[in-house]
Symmetry: C2
Subunit: 226 residues, 2 copies
């Protein structure tokens, strides 16, 4: 017969063909279950997925409507850098450029919600792909929030943290910025070159863990399917 994916497709087809135009209230789960001759839970599953991807808006009592101005939701995969390089069939390596304990810049401390005077571990790591500069990582790490630190010349902070502090919450932002003189030097590009920047904050339930800024070498593209 049909599964919830078929029902999702059928509903989507009716939306695309304007049988159910934007803003319109579609039939209730019960009515659709009757039409498709299946259990309500099956319809529910299909409609839930469509709502999650922004196609439908659902409210109790009000019913289910086709979204007026659909906010497209794109899902991005954010892999560990080593994986990302390997996925392209290239060889990954990295170099620890600097490691020091210091007080972070005001902006970093503020973002993490730490007292500015707090000492943090500052790491700079260059990630290479087939021996060429790929990403420059600038990281501030709260040493109180994580287990005893390893030798960051042997395992990249990027990868170690993922394993240690798995699945913590946080936020992430993407932007474009001109390469600072230091970044230009590390990445072997001209100063002020347009760089793709990933900036990320991570908290454990108890304390801020880390702030990291990744400056990607020119040509980097973050891509996904809608």
């Amino acid at each position: 017969m049909q599964g919830w994916e078929d029902i999702r497709s059928e509903v989507l087809a009716r939306i695309r063909s304007r049988v159910w135009p934007p803003g319109e209230t579609i039939p209730t789960e019960e009515a659709l279950a009757k039409e498709f001759d299946c259990a309500r839970a099956t319809v529910s599953r299909a409609l839930r997925e469509l709502a999650q991807s922004g196609v439908l808006e659902r409210r109790r009592k009000a019913g289910t409507r086709v979204a007026m101005l659909p906010v497209r939701k794109a899902t991005l995969d954010i892999p560990v850098i080593r994986q990302e390089v390997n996925a392209k069939g290239q060889t990954y390596s990295f170099r620890l450029l600097a490691q020091a304990t210091a007080t972070p810049p005001m902006a970093v401390a503020a973002r993490l919600g730490l007292a500015q005077a707090a000492k943090m571990l500052h790491l700079q790591t260059l990630h290479l792909s087939d021996g060429r500069a790929h990403v420059l990582e600038d990281r501030w790490l709260n040493p109180d929030a994580v287990p005893p630190l390893p030798d960051f010349a042997a395992i990249s902070a990027n990868e170690w943290l993922v394993a240690q502090v798995a699945f913590a919450s946080g936020d992430i932002a993407f932007s474009a910025e001109p390469a600072s003189p230091a970044e230009a030097l590390a990445l072997s590009v001209a100063p002020s070159t347009a760089l793709f920047i990933t900036e990320r904050c991570t908290w454990s339930p108890e304390a801020p863990i880390t702030w990291v800024r990744l400056a990607h070498a020119p040509g980097y593209r973050l891509q996904t399917v809608l």
Copy 2:
């Protein structure tokens, strides 16, 4: 008692606290249902959501494992530009800079899978936020794939298409590029300024619809919560 969200939290807590470390196989749905004293479907829902967010890997017969190198999945909202500006409490406006029928550049035709000789509609639109340049939109539109065209000086192509070709599939990519002379002029920035670029292709089931490149004014950040 407890719902699937509580079970999700509990499982996540066990993962974070390393009761179930990365790579470990966790108990079966049936076993967990017994432990939590609920139906298997409830456990299933909780584990499905965790798998969807990359925390768990599930395979029939093999069972459910904690992901070794969790690929973080971030969900981005991609609103219509007018909405995006309004959400910041600013006033949206736009200016149609150019409109012409022409043959697209080879790169665009190739990406859309069209013969290079095909004529397409070329639109350049400047989107403004509180009267200041915000995004420069460069769009190629397949006129055969959409209903009769409106006056793009009255409604922006960005918004018209969302309503007309709702929920089509496509892909999207983000990058950083230096402003071309034309872009610099339109956005009132110095040439070679680092710009955040969004590039997007859209297809309907039958035909390619549109290719669009958005060049965002400096300071733009694409942000989300993990």
